[in-house]
Amino acid sequence: MIRLVAAQRLLVPAAMMCLAAASAVMAQTIDGRRSGFDFMSRDSQQLQRDDTANPGMLAVLDGEGLWNAKAGRANRSCADCHQDASTSMKGVAARYPAFSAALNRPIDLQGRINACRETQQQATPLPWESKELLALSAYVGNQSRGMPIAPPDDARLAPFRQRGEALYTRRVGQLNFSCANCHDDNAGGKLASAVIPQAHPTGYPIYRLEWQGIGSLQRRLRGCFIGVRAEPYAYGAQEYVELELFLMSRAKGMTIETPAVRP
């Protein structure tokens, strides 16, 4: 059932906890909107704040390696074309999903990275939720850490965002819940041991203690569908991009935390 509830949470080694807070990520509260960060225990917050302890930073480091590695028939690395990610990728994650003229539909950041792999590097696209795709997403996402979410002002996105909103408010599953039933009407309440957050996608990909690993927003959303006994959409489905468009517009102005830690 609603196994949104972590039966067993990873215990954070004490040694990790004594390292001082280093990174810029702080609690963020804007006009009543609160990041999932604010709903976490102090221990988890501390884990996220400290780059030397945050397990998501391992994915960022892996991503940096992949960024500089040549790949595909073109035998080119991301860096060959985009040079220094701290300049070229700064702010990119804050404005995805974006409209792809080539595909005539919006794509999320993972889709954009895979598009470059296919067309620019002439390599096979990385599988959804693969270590490599998560690592590259974490690395690119991390370049926007601390920046405000800034959805593009692009009229072509509007109908897709509206579909995302309709998905957000539609009841689904044997337990018959909409996202809004939990994340708008009952945010801050407790579903057994889990505090219901407001569902702001500020930190993806995240390191989730329940997964003991890094995962995408799509994986997180699949968990919420499965929790209410609804059939989740397949990875890569357009519905996830539409939901993300809506969630990002709802979170406009909130700060990117990638890689966030979540329970």
Binding site: I2, G173, Q174, N176, D185, G189, K190, L191
Partner: protein
Amino acid sequence: MLLAMTAADADELRAFKVTGDAIVEPLGGARGDVARGRAIVVDRQKGLCLLCHTGPFPDQRFQGTLAPTLAGAGARWTEGQLRLRLVDSAKLNPATIMPSYYRTEGLTRVGAAWQNKPVLTAQEVEDVVAFLATLKDPQ
């Protein structure tokens, strides 16, 4: 995420009659069993009640905060009223988040493992009703 299959049968649901805000007649099967009802209520994969409700269950950790306490439910409501609240709370309050435990119609995108199955069987509903009816103390 682990999905525990419920024992709910995929058979046709039994017919029932709503009178006012109650289903007066039992859904059928054997008389509700209080002990089995309690076990269902505290089971997080089956009854799911404590994900949302609190109740007089000192042995249960992590009770939810999304719904009123179940303590005293048997004093506040008749068995018939409790039965309708379990079978299909949405009939009384369309905006409720309490799942309809004995209903398969009007749902969207139900997961493959759960299709055409109610959350609880008719017998399980009766067990839970029998247990709730014993909760007379409002503390």
